[in-house]
């Protein structure tokens, strides 16, 4: 236990953590004013994928449910915004909570009959669900989704008379939503619900024998994860001003999956780091564009080999030592 004492010395100090947070926040806030439009856009996508990652993290990271169809919920959020805005003229920003609710509701309906499946079985069903949603969108049911062309002409979001238009505007919009979601998730992690999620991930039978209502909590995780993806869908639709089925392919679900694995299951900073890596990777490896998927695969394999818990895992012992838990 001596090592615990040692680490506590520098890392548990409140001011170190505070300083770290302040620096991170300052960097995030000042970034758009120092970077080019292009890099601000990249920053936006990091935020967008961080939001998607945080949502999937609830399902995959906290509860350990293999969901390889998360793009479906993202698509549902995006199409909800697109259709309701273009057809009925509802303001895009007002559709932000609506998209989350629709995605969450659909997640509840979809996952209700499959929630008892374990491990790879659930994984395969979610892959199928992702594909079903995408194919339905392509097939243009009732002329609503516009088929392969998607829906175009989504209005820009307006906040108190300010039209969200530039990359910088969108950067702040997405990161504000990420911040709110991360805070909410942090509170949940510190509650009996968050712990119960982790009990399920660690040992489902023991969790149930200890009085955890496994089914309801798994459903809650799916609903919350989908809600976050719905928010991301709304922001994505607003940014692109159009949605099409091409954006929500299986590979997107895989990317979200690798964000959570790369960062560390159940770790909020890890997920954000994972999102940054997954978005930045193609940018950095642009000179060797042909091989970048190869490098990506290698990097993923290396991470899993050398750091199976992810790059920035949650350190539970530290959390207690730092007194983050109520005493």
């Amino acid at each position: 236990m001596r090592w615990l004492g040692k680490r506590r010395a520098w890392c548990s100090k409140k001011w170190v953590r505070l300083a770290f947070l302040v620096v991170a926040l300052a960097l995030l806030l000042s970034f758009p004013f120092r970077a080019s439009r292009y890099w601000v856009d990249v920053g936006f996508y990091v935020g967008l994928y961080a939001l998607l990652g945080l949502g999937l993290n609830v399902i995959l990271g906290e509860v350990g449910l293999f969901n390889l169809g998360h793009a479906a919920f993202w698509a549902l959020g995006a199409y909800t915004t697109a259709i309701l805005n273009v057809r009925f003229g509802i303001p895009t920003l007002a559709l932000l909570p609506v998209s989350a609710l629709v995605a969450a509701g659909c997640a509840w309906l979809i996952s209700f009959p499959i929630i008892h499946l374990r491990g790879d079985y659930l994984c395969i069903v979610t892959i199928a669900l992702g594909e079903i949603v995408r194919l339905v969108l392509i097939n243009n049911p009732g002329g609503l989704t516009g088929g392969p062309n998607g829906v175009v002409g989504i209005a820009r979001p307006v906040i108190a008379g300010h039209v969200i238009r530039t990359p910088t505007d969108f950067y702040f919009l997405v990161w504000a939503v990420v911040a709110i979601c991360a805070l909410a998730l942090r509170q949940l992690q510190r509650s009996r619900l968050g712990r119960a999620w982790n009990y399920i991930r660690e040992d489902e039978i023991a969790a149930e024998a200890m009085g955890v209502d496994v089914r309801s909590l798994k459903l809650l995780a799916f609903v919350l994860g989908a809600a976050a993806a719905g928010l991301a869908g709304n922001i994505f639709a607003a940014k692109m001003r159009m949605v099409s089925p091409d954006s929500f392919t299986f590979i997107e679900s895989c990317l979200m999956f690798s964000i959570v694995l790369l960062g560390g299951m159940g770790s909020i900073p890890g997920t954000i780091l994972g999102a940054a890596l997954v978005v930045l990777f193609p940018e950095i490896f642009r000179p060797v564009a042909q091989y970048r998927l190869l490098f990506f695969g290698l990097a993923l394999a290396a991470t899993m080999y050398f750091r199976p818990g992810g790059l920035w895992p949650r350190r539970r012992t530290m959390e207690f030592l730092m007194g983050q838990v109520e005493r």
Binding site: R190, S191, R192, A196, Y199, M210, G211, V212, T317
Partner: protein, 263 residues
């Protein structure tokens, strides 16, 4: 008071395809006692536990607790009624701290929901503090205080067994089912475990114990039920069971002439 039957199985039968693991098994656990369930390997002891705690559904028979049927309830509902258990091989939440493991026992007594947790409302904070305080109390009682912030997978095996016991006790059960609590422990750990189990009835906890170690069983039990091939073959006080020829046969085989004839 002591004679009141708290937990009862009435003719429970559990089959796994052709194999009858538990066959019309009756068991009556009286309040405030330590009741042991013994039998050779594969006799169906753990299956009885799994049926009582709702992990398995019996094909036939009833489980009655405090006059209420438990059949068809899910494991978490059964725990909420006051039956907690441990497992033969500790099933801990390995990547969580020992404190968090024991706090699992408090989950069922918590009421804070989604919004209360996200907004950290005052009653949610109070509840969290209470859950943690109770968990810390059990860690102290079982001598695990030193490991409280350590991940469960990093602590010694003997402590893992104690931790699982602490987790079950933190759920404030009326009946505690212990599946081989001393299996794999060294002599001094066994001693600690035995003393602790022996003290439970005084705390108002009735114990149903599955155990292979005869010293433990004979030393602790008020009543022993012997199982073989899924059936009850004997029941009685430790002395009665110890001297019962049917029990000796189940454990050691038939007499000499048979051993010679077949071998």
């Amino acid at each position: 008071m002591r004679d009141e039957v708290l937990l009862e199985t009435q003719g429970i039968t559990k089959r796994f395809r052709g194999l009858v693991a538990v066959d019309k098994f009756d068991l009556a656990v009286r309040k405030g006692t330590i009741h042991s369930l013994i039998g050779p390997n594969g006799a169906g002891k753990t299956t009885v536990f799994n049926v009582i705690t709702g992990i398995y559904r019996p094909e036939d028979g009833k489980v009655v607790f405090q006059g209420q049927m438990l059949n068809g309830l899910k494991p978490h509902e059964i725990l909420a009624r006051g039956i907690a258990r441990t497992f033969q091989n500790p099933r801990l939440f390995k990547n969580m701290t020992c404190l968090e493991n024991v706090m699992a026992g408090g989950h069922v007594h918590g009421r804070a929901g989604f919004w209360a947790s996200i907004l950290r409302l005052p009653h949610q904070r109070r509840e969290e503090r209470a859950i943690q305080a109770r968990a810390e109390e059990w860690l102290r009682k079982l001598g695990l205080w030193y490991f409280r912030y350590e991940l469960a997978r990093n602590i010694p095996y003997g402590c893992q067994k104690l931790l699982e016991l602490a987790r079950a006790l933190a759920a404030q059960p009326t009946v505690l089912l212990l599946d081989e609590p001393t299996c794999g422990l060294n002599e001094s750990e066994k001693e600690t475990m035995m003393n602790f189990i022996g003290s439970l009835p005084k705390e108002g906890i009735t114990v149903l114990l599955v155990e292979h170690n005869m010293n433990v069983v004979m030393g602790l039990s008020d009543l022993i039920t012997v199982m073989n091939y899924g059936r009850k073959i004997a029941e009685g006080t430790p002395e009665e069971v110890y001297n019962n020829p049917v029990v000796i046969e189940a454990y050691l085989g038939r007499g000499e002439e048979h051993a010679i004839a077949s071998g």
